[in-house]
Symmetry: C2
Subunit: 211 residues, 2 copies
Protein backbone atom coordinates (compact mmCIF):
# COMPACT_ATOMS: atom_id res chain seq x y z
CA UNK A 1 0.00 0.00 0.00
CA UNK A 2 1.31 3.41 -0.91
CA UNK A 3 1.93 5.74 2.00
CA UNK A 4 -0.94 8.20 2.28
CA UNK A 5 -0.54 11.84 3.19
CA UNK A 6 -3.50 12.13 5.51
CA UNK A 7 -3.93 15.33 7.51
CA UNK A 8 -3.96 14.90 11.26
CA UNK A 9 -7.46 16.37 11.58
CA UNK A 10 -8.65 13.60 9.25
CA UNK A 11 -6.89 10.92 11.30
CA UNK A 12 -8.60 12.31 14.39
CA UNK A 13 -12.01 12.13 12.72
CA UNK A 14 -11.33 8.63 11.39
CA UNK A 15 -10.73 7.57 14.95
CA UNK A 16 -14.07 9.10 15.96
CA UNK A 17 -15.90 7.48 13.02
CA UNK A 18 -14.40 4.13 13.91
CA UNK A 19 -15.57 4.28 17.50
CA UNK A 20 -19.00 5.31 16.29
CA UNK A 21 -19.07 2.43 13.78
CA UNK A 22 -18.12 -0.02 16.55
CA UNK A 23 -20.97 1.34 18.64
CA UNK A 24 -23.63 0.95 15.92
CA UNK A 25 -22.17 -2.41 14.87
CA UNK A 26 -22.78 -3.63 18.45
CA UNK A 27 -26.36 -2.48 18.10
CA UNK A 28 -26.71 -4.59 14.95
CA UNK A 29 -26.68 -1.78 12.33
CA UNK A 30 -25.22 -3.16 9.06
CA UNK A 31 -25.23 -0.22 6.63
CA UNK A 32 -24.99 3.53 7.17
CA UNK A 33 -24.97 6.66 5.00
CA UNK A 34 -22.40 9.44 5.23
CA UNK A 35 -25.26 11.77 6.22
CA UNK A 36 -26.14 9.57 9.21
CA UNK A 37 -22.49 9.30 10.30
CA UNK A 38 -22.18 13.07 9.91
CA UNK A 39 -25.26 13.79 11.93
CA UNK A 40 -24.34 11.46 14.77
CA UNK A 41 -20.72 12.50 15.18
CA UNK A 42 -21.31 16.21 14.52
CA UNK A 43 -19.34 16.67 11.28
CA UNK A 44 -20.71 17.84 7.89
CA UNK A 45 -21.69 15.06 5.42
CA UNK A 46 -19.27 16.54 2.84
CA UNK A 47 -16.46 16.24 5.37
CA UNK A 48 -17.30 12.60 6.11
CA UNK A 49 -17.30 11.76 2.39
CA UNK A 50 -14.04 13.63 1.87
CA UNK A 51 -12.37 11.87 4.81
CA UNK A 52 -13.48 8.43 3.66
CA UNK A 53 -12.50 9.17 0.05
CA UNK A 54 -8.83 8.91 1.09
CA UNK A 55 -9.30 5.18 1.11
CA UNK A 56 -11.04 4.65 -2.20
CA UNK A 57 -14.60 3.63 -2.79
CA UNK A 58 -16.24 1.98 0.18
CA UNK A 59 -19.81 3.14 -0.10
CA UNK A 60 -22.50 2.13 -2.57
CA UNK A 61 -24.58 4.99 -3.91
CA UNK A 62 -28.08 4.90 -2.43
CA UNK A 63 -27.14 2.09 -0.01
CA UNK A 64 -24.37 3.60 2.05
CA UNK A 65 -21.40 2.01 3.72
CA UNK A 66 -21.15 -1.49 5.09
CA UNK A 67 -20.51 -0.79 8.79
CA UNK A 68 -18.19 -3.75 9.51
CA UNK A 69 -16.17 -3.34 6.29
CA UNK A 70 -15.68 0.37 6.69
CA UNK A 71 -14.68 -0.01 10.33
CA UNK A 72 -12.26 -2.84 9.49
CA UNK A 73 -10.50 -0.61 6.96
CA UNK A 74 -10.30 2.38 9.27
CA UNK A 75 -8.93 0.24 12.10
CA UNK A 76 -6.27 -1.13 9.77
CA UNK A 77 -5.32 2.35 8.56
CA UNK A 78 -5.03 3.61 12.13
CA UNK A 79 -2.60 0.79 12.89
CA UNK A 80 -4.99 -0.83 15.37
CA UNK A 81 -5.28 -4.26 13.78
CA UNK A 82 -2.48 -5.35 16.12
CA UNK A 83 -2.47 -4.86 19.89
CA UNK A 84 -0.17 -2.18 21.35
CA UNK A 85 1.46 -2.67 24.73
CA UNK A 86 1.57 0.70 26.54
CA UNK A 87 3.11 1.83 29.81
CA UNK A 88 1.99 4.70 32.05
CA UNK A 89 4.44 6.84 34.02
CA UNK A 90 2.69 8.15 37.12
CA UNK A 91 0.38 6.20 39.44
CA UNK A 92 -1.60 9.21 40.72
CA UNK A 93 -5.28 9.86 39.98
CA UNK A 94 -4.70 10.53 36.30
CA UNK A 95 -2.48 7.46 35.81
CA UNK A 96 -5.02 5.35 37.69
CA UNK A 97 -7.92 6.73 35.64
CA UNK A 98 -6.00 6.06 32.41
CA UNK A 99 -5.09 2.53 33.50
CA UNK A 100 -8.79 1.66 33.75
CA UNK A 101 -10.03 3.79 30.84
CA UNK A 102 -12.29 1.50 28.81
CA UNK A 103 -11.65 3.50 25.65
CA UNK A 104 -8.04 2.22 25.48
CA UNK A 105 -8.85 -1.45 25.93
CA UNK A 106 -11.64 -1.27 23.35
CA UNK A 107 -9.19 0.05 20.77
CA UNK A 108 -6.38 -2.47 21.16
CA UNK A 109 -4.22 -0.61 23.68
CA UNK A 110 -3.09 -2.72 26.59
CA UNK A 111 -1.59 -1.03 29.63
CA UNK A 112 1.14 -3.49 30.66
CA UNK A 113 2.86 -1.59 33.48
CA UNK A 114 2.66 1.59 35.55
CA UNK A 115 5.70 3.39 36.94
CA UNK A 116 6.04 5.65 39.94
CA UNK A 117 8.71 6.88 42.30
CA UNK A 118 6.51 6.65 45.39
CA UNK A 119 7.81 3.70 47.47
CA UNK A 120 4.32 3.19 48.91
CA UNK A 121 2.87 2.47 45.48
CA UNK A 122 5.55 0.14 44.13
CA UNK A 123 4.66 -3.53 43.90
CA UNK A 124 1.01 -2.65 44.40
CA UNK A 125 -1.41 -3.52 41.57
CA UNK A 126 -3.70 -0.91 40.00
CA UNK A 127 -6.59 -2.62 38.26
CA UNK A 128 -4.42 -5.72 37.94
CA UNK A 129 -1.46 -3.81 36.48
CA UNK A 130 1.74 -3.80 38.51
CA UNK A 131 3.36 -0.54 39.66
CA UNK A 132 7.15 -0.58 39.12
CA UNK A 133 9.83 1.88 40.26
CA UNK A 134 10.94 4.32 37.51
CA UNK A 135 14.38 2.66 37.59
CA UNK A 136 12.90 -0.45 35.96
CA UNK A 137 11.55 1.46 32.96
CA UNK A 138 14.10 0.41 30.32
CA UNK A 139 13.97 -3.22 31.46
CA UNK A 140 10.16 -3.48 31.30
CA UNK A 141 9.94 -1.59 27.99
CA UNK A 142 12.41 -4.03 26.40
CA UNK A 143 10.86 -7.12 27.97
CA UNK A 144 7.26 -6.29 27.07
CA UNK A 145 8.14 -4.77 23.67
CA UNK A 146 6.50 -1.47 24.60
CA UNK A 147 6.43 1.18 21.86
CA UNK A 148 4.31 3.80 23.61
CA UNK A 149 4.66 5.55 26.96
CA UNK A 150 2.05 7.79 28.57
CA UNK A 151 3.19 10.62 30.83
CA UNK A 152 0.74 11.17 33.71
CA UNK A 153 3.01 12.92 36.21
CA UNK A 154 2.81 16.53 37.48
CA UNK A 155 4.05 19.23 35.08
CA UNK A 156 7.26 19.78 37.03
CA UNK A 157 8.40 16.15 36.52
CA UNK A 158 7.24 15.78 32.89
CA UNK A 159 10.51 16.60 31.10
CA UNK A 160 12.58 14.28 33.30
CA UNK A 161 10.13 11.43 32.73
CA UNK A 162 10.13 12.15 28.97
CA UNK A 163 13.94 11.87 28.97
CA UNK A 164 13.69 8.54 30.79
CA UNK A 165 11.13 7.25 28.27
CA UNK A 166 13.40 8.27 25.39
CA UNK A 167 16.36 6.55 27.07
CA UNK A 168 14.19 3.44 27.51
CA UNK A 169 13.67 3.48 23.71
CA UNK A 170 9.92 3.96 23.40
CA UNK A 171 8.92 5.17 19.92
CA UNK A 172 5.94 7.31 20.87
CA UNK A 173 4.99 9.46 23.86
CA UNK A 174 1.56 10.70 24.88
CA UNK A 175 2.05 13.58 27.31
CA UNK A 176 -0.82 14.51 29.63
CA UNK A 177 1.21 16.93 31.74
CA UNK A 178 0.21 20.55 31.00
CA UNK A 179 3.72 21.47 29.93
CA UNK A 180 5.57 21.61 26.61
CA UNK A 181 8.26 18.91 26.63
CA UNK A 182 11.21 18.36 24.29
CA UNK A 183 12.10 15.02 22.71
CA UNK A 184 14.34 14.04 19.77
CA UNK A 185 12.74 14.26 16.29
CA UNK A 186 12.81 10.48 15.98
CA UNK A 187 10.20 10.21 18.76
CA UNK A 188 6.53 10.64 17.92
CA UNK A 189 5.14 13.02 20.55
CA UNK A 190 1.51 13.99 21.25
CA UNK A 191 0.73 16.54 23.89
CA UNK A 192 -2.74 16.11 25.32
CA UNK A 193 -3.63 19.26 27.08
CA UNK A 194 -7.00 18.57 28.62
CA UNK A 195 -7.77 22.26 28.97
CA UNK A 196 -7.44 22.80 25.20
CA UNK A 197 -10.83 21.15 24.87
CA UNK A 198 -12.36 23.47 27.45
CA UNK A 199 -10.83 26.40 25.60
CA UNK A 200 -12.41 25.37 22.29
CA UNK A 201 -15.67 25.19 24.20
CA UNK A 202 -15.30 28.69 25.67
CA UNK A 203 -14.21 30.04 22.29
CA UNK A 204 -17.33 28.55 20.67
CA UNK A 205 -19.58 29.78 23.48
CA UNK A 206 -18.15 33.29 23.06
CA UNK A 207 -18.52 33.06 19.31
CA UNK A 208 -22.19 32.07 19.63
CA UNK A 209 -22.85 35.10 21.82
CA UNK A 210 -21.59 37.04 18.79
CA UNK A 211 -18.57 38.41 20.55
CA UNK B 1 -15.21 43.32 17.23
CA UNK B 2 -16.48 41.48 14.19
CA UNK B 3 -17.04 37.77 14.71
CA UNK B 4 -14.14 35.80 13.26
CA UNK B 5 -14.53 32.55 11.38
CA UNK B 6 -11.60 30.69 12.88
CA UNK B 7 -11.19 26.99 12.10
CA UNK B 8 -11.23 24.69 15.10
CA UNK B 9 -7.72 23.40 14.37
CA UNK B 10 -6.51 27.00 14.65
CA UNK B 11 -8.33 27.52 17.95
CA UNK B 12 -6.67 24.35 19.24
CA UNK B 13 -3.23 25.62 18.24
CA UNK B 14 -3.92 29.08 19.70
CA UNK B 15 -4.60 27.36 22.98
CA UNK B 16 -1.25 25.54 22.71
CA UNK B 17 0.61 28.74 21.75
CA UNK B 18 -0.94 30.55 24.68
CA UNK B 19 0.17 27.93 27.18
CA UNK B 20 3.63 28.01 25.67
CA UNK B 21 3.71 31.83 25.86
CA UNK B 22 2.69 31.69 29.55
CA UNK B 23 5.52 29.24 30.14
CA UNK B 24 8.22 31.39 28.52
CA UNK B 25 6.75 34.55 30.07
CA UNK B 26 7.28 32.93 33.50
CA UNK B 27 10.90 32.33 32.52
CA UNK B 28 11.26 36.03 31.70
CA UNK B 29 11.30 35.82 27.88
CA UNK B 30 9.91 39.09 26.47
CA UNK B 31 9.98 38.67 22.67
CA UNK B 32 9.76 35.60 20.46
CA UNK B 33 9.83 34.86 16.72
CA UNK B 34 7.28 32.72 14.91
CA UNK B 35 10.15 30.33 14.06
CA UNK B 36 10.93 29.83 17.75
CA UNK B 37 7.27 29.29 18.66
CA UNK B 38 6.99 26.86 15.76
CA UNK B 39 10.05 24.90 16.78
CA UNK B 40 9.05 24.62 20.42
CA UNK B 41 5.43 23.60 19.92
CA UNK B 42 6.07 21.41 16.87
CA UNK B 43 4.16 23.34 14.19
CA UNK B 44 5.60 24.84 10.97
CA UNK B 45 6.61 28.55 11.13
CA UNK B 46 4.26 29.29 8.21
CA UNK B 47 1.38 27.76 10.18
CA UNK B 48 2.18 29.85 13.25
CA UNK B 49 2.24 33.04 11.16
CA UNK B 50 -1.00 32.07 9.42
CA UNK B 51 -2.73 31.31 12.73
CA UNK B 52 -1.64 34.58 14.31
CA UNK B 53 -2.54 36.56 11.18
CA UNK B 54 -6.23 36.04 12.00
CA UNK B 55 -5.81 38.72 14.61
CA UNK B 56 -4.01 41.39 12.63
CA UNK B 57 -0.45 42.52 12.97
CA UNK B 58 1.14 41.62 16.28
CA UNK B 59 4.72 40.96 15.35
CA UNK B 60 7.46 43.38 14.36
CA UNK B 61 9.59 42.21 11.45
CA UNK B 62 13.05 41.25 12.65
CA UNK B 63 12.05 41.58 16.31
CA UNK B 64 9.24 39.09 16.69
CA UNK B 65 6.23 39.10 18.96
CA UNK B 66 5.92 40.67 22.37
CA UNK B 67 5.22 37.61 24.53
CA UNK B 68 2.86 39.26 27.05
CA UNK B 69 0.89 41.20 24.39
CA UNK B 70 0.43 38.25 22.11
CA UNK B 71 -0.64 36.01 24.98
CA UNK B 72 -3.07 38.64 26.27
CA UNK B 73 -4.76 38.80 22.87
CA UNK B 74 -4.98 35.05 22.45
CA UNK B 75 -6.41 34.62 25.94
CA UNK B 76 -9.06 37.25 25.17
CA UNK B 77 -9.95 35.58 21.87
CA UNK B 78 -10.28 32.20 23.58
CA UNK B 79 -12.74 33.73 26.02
CA UNK B 80 -10.42 33.17 28.97
CA UNK B 81 -10.11 36.74 30.21
CA UNK B 82 -12.98 35.91 32.58
CA UNK B 83 -13.05 32.96 34.98
CA UNK B 84 -15.36 30.04 34.12
CA UNK B 85 -17.04 28.07 36.89
CA UNK B 86 -17.16 24.39 35.85
CA UNK B 87 -18.75 21.31 37.40
CA UNK B 88 -17.66 17.68 37.05
CA UNK B 89 -20.12 14.79 36.94
CA UNK B 90 -18.42 11.67 38.30
CA UNK B 91 -16.17 11.47 41.37
CA UNK B 92 -14.19 8.40 40.25
CA UNK B 93 -10.49 8.42 39.35
CA UNK B 94 -10.99 10.50 36.21
CA UNK B 95 -13.24 13.05 37.94
CA UNK B 96 -10.74 13.25 40.80
CA UNK B 97 -7.80 13.66 38.41
CA UNK B 98 -9.65 16.39 36.52
CA UNK B 99 -10.62 18.18 39.73
CA UNK B 100 -6.94 18.62 40.56
CA UNK B 101 -5.63 19.08 37.02
CA UNK B 102 -3.33 22.11 37.17
CA UNK B 103 -3.92 22.86 33.51
CA UNK B 104 -7.53 23.93 34.21
CA UNK B 105 -6.76 26.27 37.08
CA UNK B 106 -3.91 27.90 35.14
CA UNK B 107 -6.32 28.74 32.32
CA UNK B 108 -9.14 30.32 34.29
CA UNK B 109 -11.34 27.27 34.79
CA UNK B 110 -12.53 26.79 38.35
CA UNK B 111 -14.07 23.47 39.33
CA UNK B 112 -16.84 24.55 41.73
CA UNK B 113 -18.61 21.25 42.41
CA UNK B 114 -18.42 17.51 41.72
CA UNK B 115 -21.47 15.27 41.41
CA UNK B 116 -21.83 11.56 42.01
CA UNK B 117 -24.54 9.05 42.81
CA UNK B 118 -22.39 7.07 45.23
CA UNK B 119 -23.75 7.75 48.74
CA UNK B 120 -20.30 7.10 50.20
CA UNK B 121 -18.80 9.98 48.24
CA UNK B 122 -21.48 12.62 48.84
CA UNK B 123 -20.61 15.42 51.24
CA UNK B 124 -16.96 14.41 51.04
CA UNK B 125 -14.51 16.96 49.65
CA UNK B 126 -12.18 16.16 46.77
CA UNK B 127 -9.26 18.57 46.74
CA UNK B 128 -11.43 21.03 48.62
CA UNK B 129 -14.35 20.71 46.19
CA UNK B 130 -17.61 19.34 47.60
CA UNK B 131 -19.21 16.21 46.14
CA UNK B 132 -23.00 16.63 45.70
CA UNK B 133 -25.67 14.08 44.76
CA UNK B 134 -26.71 14.23 41.08
CA UNK B 135 -30.15 15.39 42.21
CA UNK B 136 -28.68 18.76 43.22
CA UNK B 137 -27.26 19.45 39.75
CA UNK B 138 -29.77 22.06 38.53
CA UNK B 139 -29.70 23.89 41.86
CA UNK B 140 -25.88 24.15 42.01
CA UNK B 141 -25.59 25.08 38.31
CA UNK B 142 -28.05 27.97 38.83
CA UNK B 143 -26.55 29.09 42.12
CA UNK B 144 -22.93 29.11 40.97
CA UNK B 145 -23.73 30.36 37.44
CA UNK B 146 -22.08 27.32 35.86
CA UNK B 147 -21.93 27.31 32.04
CA UNK B 148 -19.83 24.19 31.53
CA UNK B 149 -20.23 20.62 32.73
CA UNK B 150 -17.63 17.87 32.40
CA UNK B 151 -18.78 14.26 32.04
CA UNK B 152 -16.39 11.88 33.80
CA UNK B 153 -18.69 8.89 34.34
CA UNK B 154 -18.48 5.41 32.76
CA UNK B 155 -19.64 5.13 29.12
CA UNK B 156 -22.89 3.40 30.08
CA UNK B 157 -24.04 6.37 32.20
CA UNK B 158 -22.83 9.14 29.87
CA UNK B 159 -26.05 9.81 27.94
CA UNK B 160 -28.18 9.97 31.09
CA UNK B 161 -25.75 12.41 32.70
CA UNK B 162 -25.67 14.49 29.50
CA UNK B 163 -29.48 14.72 29.62
CA UNK B 164 -29.29 15.86 33.25
CA UNK B 165 -26.70 18.52 32.37
CA UNK B 166 -28.90 19.79 29.54
CA UNK B 167 -31.91 19.89 31.89
CA UNK B 168 -29.78 21.82 34.40
CA UNK B 169 -29.20 24.41 31.63
CA UNK B 170 -25.43 24.25 31.17
CA UNK B 171 -24.35 25.78 27.83
CA UNK B 172 -21.37 23.56 27.08
CA UNK B 173 -20.47 19.94 27.79
CA UNK B 174 -17.05 18.32 27.73
CA UNK B 175 -17.55 14.56 27.48
CA UNK B 176 -14.73 12.27 28.58
CA UNK B 177 -16.76 9.07 28.37
CA UNK B 178 -15.71 6.96 25.36
CA UNK B 179 -19.20 7.06 23.88
CA UNK B 180 -20.99 9.27 21.35
CA UNK B 181 -23.70 11.23 23.17
CA UNK B 182 -26.60 13.26 21.80
CA UNK B 183 -27.49 16.76 22.95
CA UNK B 184 -29.69 19.53 21.46
CA UNK B 185 -28.02 21.76 18.84
CA UNK B 186 -28.13 24.69 21.23
CA UNK B 187 -25.57 22.95 23.49
CA UNK B 188 -21.88 23.21 22.65
CA UNK B 189 -20.52 19.65 22.92
CA UNK B 190 -16.89 18.46 22.83
CA UNK B 191 -16.13 14.77 22.99
CA UNK B 192 -12.70 14.07 24.39
CA UNK B 193 -11.83 10.54 23.50
CA UNK B 194 -8.50 9.97 25.15
CA UNK B 195 -7.70 7.06 22.88
CA UNK B 196 -7.96 9.28 19.77
CA UNK B 197 -4.58 10.67 20.74
CA UNK B 198 -3.08 7.20 21.03
CA UNK B 199 -4.55 6.38 17.63
CA UNK B 200 -2.93 9.39 15.99
CA UNK B 201 0.30 8.17 17.55
CA UNK B 202 -0.07 4.64 16.18
CA UNK B 203 -1.08 6.02 12.79
CA UNK B 204 2.05 8.16 12.70
CA UNK B 205 4.25 5.32 13.93
CA UNK B 206 2.87 3.07 11.17
CA UNK B 207 3.33 5.85 8.63
CA UNK B 208 6.99 6.29 9.63
CA UNK B 209 7.61 2.60 9.13
CA UNK B 210 6.48 3.32 5.54
CA UNK B 211 3.35 1.25 5.74
Amino acid sequence: MKALKIPEATVMRLSVYSRYLSQIDERGVTTISSAEIADDVGVSPAQVRKDLAYFGEFGTRGVGYNVKDLNYHIIKILGLSTSWPVIIAGAGNLGTALSMYGGFRDRGFKIVAIFDNDEAKIGYKLNGIEVYPMGHLAEVVAQKKVKIGIIAVPAAAAQEVADQLVAAKVKGILNFAPRVINVPDSIELRNVDLSVNLEILTFNLGYKRGR
